[in-house]
């Protein structure tokens, strides 16, 4: 068809070739993931070992003043810190291979339990924030791109730059004071109403407690998605096939919906999936402001206080998540833009 010729889109190649390619892709992906994990583990451990922070001092904190050197030596022995670093790393790696991530020093619980508990809380927060920022960022980006140079575009662009430069922590506090303290529309803290026991809170209550932290966290992701989508939209709007459609008499709304959306979605999807890592960073602050107990807080504690087993556990878990995020981003991009299927396959 005419449009296919203009945009260079062709049908995907034959099935057998695609299957072979897919198997190869999966195998190389698994290999990359494994080497990534080893690199992350070795790198994190090396960095932590080189850090000047003394884990025992960090654990005892202000308590150091009242503990005798004998007591501090006891703590060191309980954590096995009296062994040389290489011995500790090898012992840890051996356990990990057999499926045991070790015990968190500061929480006194298995690392897997800590991560599972915390991630369960973080998941809904991050998922909602991710959805917010994706939908809003993309929608507004298309709107800005389609109305390029007009007031709507200028306001949106200005807003995006403001958000990009506003610290998450500050935005969180602002939202907290406006909506929770002054207007009292939203709760001031926690994942459930104050005083409720686990499992008592209804789904609505949970959502209600989720909304401010999620809004805060989504702020991190909106601007990049918005600005990139705007750029992509502008490019598509200037392309020949849009000119062709316009010449055929299609109006702005139809043009955007039928000719632009899918083309502009590529970069937005890529960005959105690649931003999983940034969500982690942002969730630390959002969780702190709203006392929302997630993985972010555990990560800060593990890093600040040199809880090596927990820190390594979280580092590897995050690496897997980011890797999966990027892989999904690739797939989604390919789905949105058939040209890429050809190029990679």
């Amino acid at each position: 068809m005419a449009l296919d010729l203009l945009t260079g889109t062709r049908e995907p190649t034959g099935a057998p070739r695609a299957t072979g390619a897919r198997a190869r892709r999966v195998a190389s992906g698994a290999l990359r993931l494994a080497s990534l994990l080893v690199a992350v583990a070795v790198g994190s451990f090396a960095l932590v070992s080189a850090s000047p922070v003394d884990p025992v001092q960090a654990y005892v904190g202000a308590e150091a003043r009242s503990l005798s050197p004998e007591q501090l030596a006891q703590i060191e022995a309980r954590w096995g810190l009296d062994e040389p670093p290489l011995t500790r790393f090898l012992a840890w790696a051996g356990n990990v291979v057999s499926g045991d991530l070790g015990r968190s020093q500061i929480y006194g619980e298995p690392v897997a339990t800590v991560i599972a508990d915390r991630f369960a809380a973080s998941l809904s927060l991050m998922a909602l924030a991710w959805l917010f920022s994706g939908v809003l960022g993309f929608g507004l980006g298309v709107l800005a791109g389609a109305t390029r140079g007009r007031v709507v575009d200028r306001v949106l662009t200005w807003w995006a730059y403001t958000l990009a430069s506003a610290p998450t922590f500050w935005v969180g506090l602002l939202l907290l004071y406006v909506f929770a303290v002054s207007l009292q529309w939203a709760p001031v803290c926690c994942a459930a109403p104050i005083g409720t026991l686990p499992g008592e809170a209804s789904l609505l209550e949970r959502l209600h407690h989720l909304i401010l932290p999620a809004a805060t966290l989504s702020v991190v992701g909106i601007s990049p998605t918005l600005l990139h989508t705007r750029q992509a939209t502008i490019e598509v709007m200037a392309s020949d096939h849009v000119a062709f459609a316009r010449a055929q008499g299609e109006r702005r709304a139809g043009l955007v919906l039928h000719r632009v959306l899918r083309n502009a979605a590529g970069p937005a999807l890529m960005l959105q999936f690649a931003s999983v890592g940034e969500l982690f960073g942002g969730s630390v602050l959002a969780e702190q402001v709203f006392t929302y107990p997630g993985l972010g807080e555990a990560t800060t504690q593990a890093a600040l206080r040199q809880d090596i087993p927990l820190l390594l556990g979280i580092a590897m878990f995050t690496a897997v998540l980011v890797f999966v995020g990027n892989a999904l981003g690739d797939l989604a991009h390919r789905w949105a833009d058939p040209r890429l299927r050809e190029a990679v396959g």
Binding site: P69, I75, Q184, A191, I194, T291, P293, G294
Partner: protein
């Protein structure tokens, strides 16, 4: 070609619907459980945001309950509001003539929340376990605890140690039969409350233990919120908490329905001076020792007398504090006569002149034998309070001809330079062992104790005598003598430390809640307020 965009449109529509649903949900879920304040009915539940969440759970043998109330467990002894000792699980205790054996009688009517009685075996088990565990409570003085009979425990110490009594005060007794690996998450004890649920990093719900042998608390349920400073203040402003611990810098506004309670504490701040000259000596770890300027008593005393402590309280602490007269203000072992006459620059100048510190070149800084009266005062850069104190001290010392350079550095750097430069430290404990550590010559250069290498035979003798004392009264007398004895000895006159201020810990408390008589709190703001939680009453 028109078929293609159909799918994205459907996705977009679904997402839009979802967003609307979420927004609606937020709109109607908007009722937060609000107690009817002043509505006449007495609440059975309190919500507290006073921090204090332990990372590793509620196991006293690992350090839970060092401050304030262990809540779920009970201790052998307790400190009353005036910090004097009273009985709790123990009915009596005796120390042997050699000071090595402590015999404790325990009450027989106490039961754990699982119904089992509290026995001497449990007490012995608790102390022996705590002594061997690498936790945050230091029971290394204990050699062995044994149960003599059902209600008597004998504890043998490594050496005589009067301060061991503080372990009897702070160590909550755990049941031997239920002290399993997950005890810290599911504590069982004989305290006034039982744990209902603990959502880490968020909140903890506890309920009254109706089998408690002591005075029953008047509230059935307590909710502890583990919010950070900003969220705590927000929760207080939104009327959702009854007690909120806030840093004094944030305690300046007022909150409707709440009063501001400023609780005195021995959470103090003071300056440690190197007291020995720089003779090229180093510590075992290779750190340099000594400062030629602060090694001169006249300099240290002049600084201490030139400082206007009341002005520090008003200016830096916004009034939430008191001038410090020593390291242990407000405790039974404090010697009030040891206070320094301060805010007296003239006296400071006279001292310096007499000692030969004269400003010969007219630059405003005195010299002696070619050495300028000049030294560095370190403070942790992250601590704005200590920064404020350090800078104020610089201004107060300048008129008397002493030039101090205040320098904000990391703790790691302080650890390296604390024997050659003056440092602003913070201390304050219900355990006088701290005073021993700060002033005894044997503790010089160990941890952060006695960083200035102060050594005085009389002071050492008093401190040793206090530690070896067999009863509280003798011990307190010796602790006081270490500060200032009847012959004018004691560390006060040597000024190895210039104590500056004691902080007040600030709390917003519901106007209807009476907290009873409050203890002078130790270093650590927040949880210590729970020490008298059983006597809290609702007054509206």
């Amino acid at each position: 070609m028109l078929r293609r965009p159909a799918r994205p449109r459907r996705v977009a529509r679904t997402l839009a619907a979802l967003a609307v649903a979420v927004t609606l949900a937020a709109g109607c879920g908007g009722t937060v459980d609000e107690r009817s304040d002043g509505g006449g009915s007495v609440p059975t539940e309190l919500t507290l945001a006073v921090g204090g969440e332990p990372d590793d759970g509620f196991d006293p043998t690992l350090g839970w309950g060092r401050y304030g109330s262990p809540l779920f467990q009970s201790t052998l002894l307790k400190r009353a509001a005036d910090l004097s000792l009273t009985h709790d699980l123990a009915t009596d205790y005796r120390v042997s003539a050699d000071g090595l054996t402590w015999t404790v009688d325990i009450r027989t009517d106490a039961v754990f929340s699982d119904g089992q009685p509290v026995t001497a075996e449990d007490v012995a088990y608790t102390f022996n376990t705590a002594a061997q565990q690498g936790g945050l409570t230091d029971v290394t003085a204990l050699e062995r605890a044994t149960a003599v009979d059902q209600d008597t425990v004998e504890m043998r110490l490594v050496e005589p140690r009067s301060t061991f009594v503080n372990r009897l005060v702070s160590l909550g007794i755990v049941p031997e039969h239920a002290h399993s690996a997950d005890y810290a998450q599911h504590p069982v004890g004989s305290g006034p409350f039982e744990l209902v649920s603990w959502e880490k990093g968020q909140q903890m719900v506890v309920q009254r233990n109706d089998d408690y042998y002591g005075e029953l608390p008047s509230f059935e349920r307590l909710v502890f919120l583990f919010t950070d400073e900003d969220a705590t203040l927000a929760a207080a402003r939104a009327g959702q908490v009854d007690v909120a611990s806030v840093p004094s810098a944030m305690a300046t506004g007022s909150i409707a329905g709440m009063r501001l309670e400023a609780v005195p504490s021995i959470d103090n701040r003071g300056i440690a001076f190197p007291t020995v000259p720089d003779e090229g000596r180093t510590t075992e770890a290779g750190l340099p020792i000594g400062n030629d300027v602060t090694a001169d008593l006249a300099i240290r005393e002049a600084v201490s007398r030139a400082i206007d402590r009341q002005q520090l309280v008003d200016g830096v602490l916004e009034g939430f504090g008191s001038p410090a007269t020593g390291p242990v203000d407000g405790t039974p072992w404090h010697e009030p006569a040891a206070a320094v006459d301060d805010a007296d620059p003239d006296a400071a100048i006279a001292l310096l002149e007499e000692a030969g510190w004269v400003d010969t070149d007219g630059d405003g800084v005195r010299e002696k034998d070619g050495v300028r009266a000049e030294f560095t005062l370190l403070y942790p850069a992250s601590d704005t309070l200590r920064q404020g104190l350090a800078l104020s001290v610089v201004d107060m010392a300048k008129p008397v001809g002493i030039s101090i350079r205040a320098e904000g550095v990391s703790w790691e750097e302080i650890d390296r330079r604390l024997h050659v430069d003056a440092v602003v430290f913070g201390w304050g404990s219900h355990d006088p062992t701290e005073m021993y550590n700060l002033y005894h010559s044997a503790q010089a250069g160990i941890e952060l104790w006695n960083p200035g290498f102060y050594a005085d035979a009389t002071v050492d003798a008093h401190l040793d005598a206090a530690l070896a004392a067999r009863d509280e009264e003798t011990a307190n007398r010796e602790w006081r003598a270490a500060q200032l004895d009847e012959h004018g000895g004691g560390f006060t006159g040597d000024h190895p430390w210039a104590w500056l201020v004691n902080l007040d810990h600030t709390y917003f408390v519901d106007e209807c809640l009476d907290l009873g008589e409050l203890q002078t709190e130790p270093h650590g703001h927040g949880w210590p307020i729970t020490a008298g939680i059983q006597s809290w009453r609702w007054t509206c």
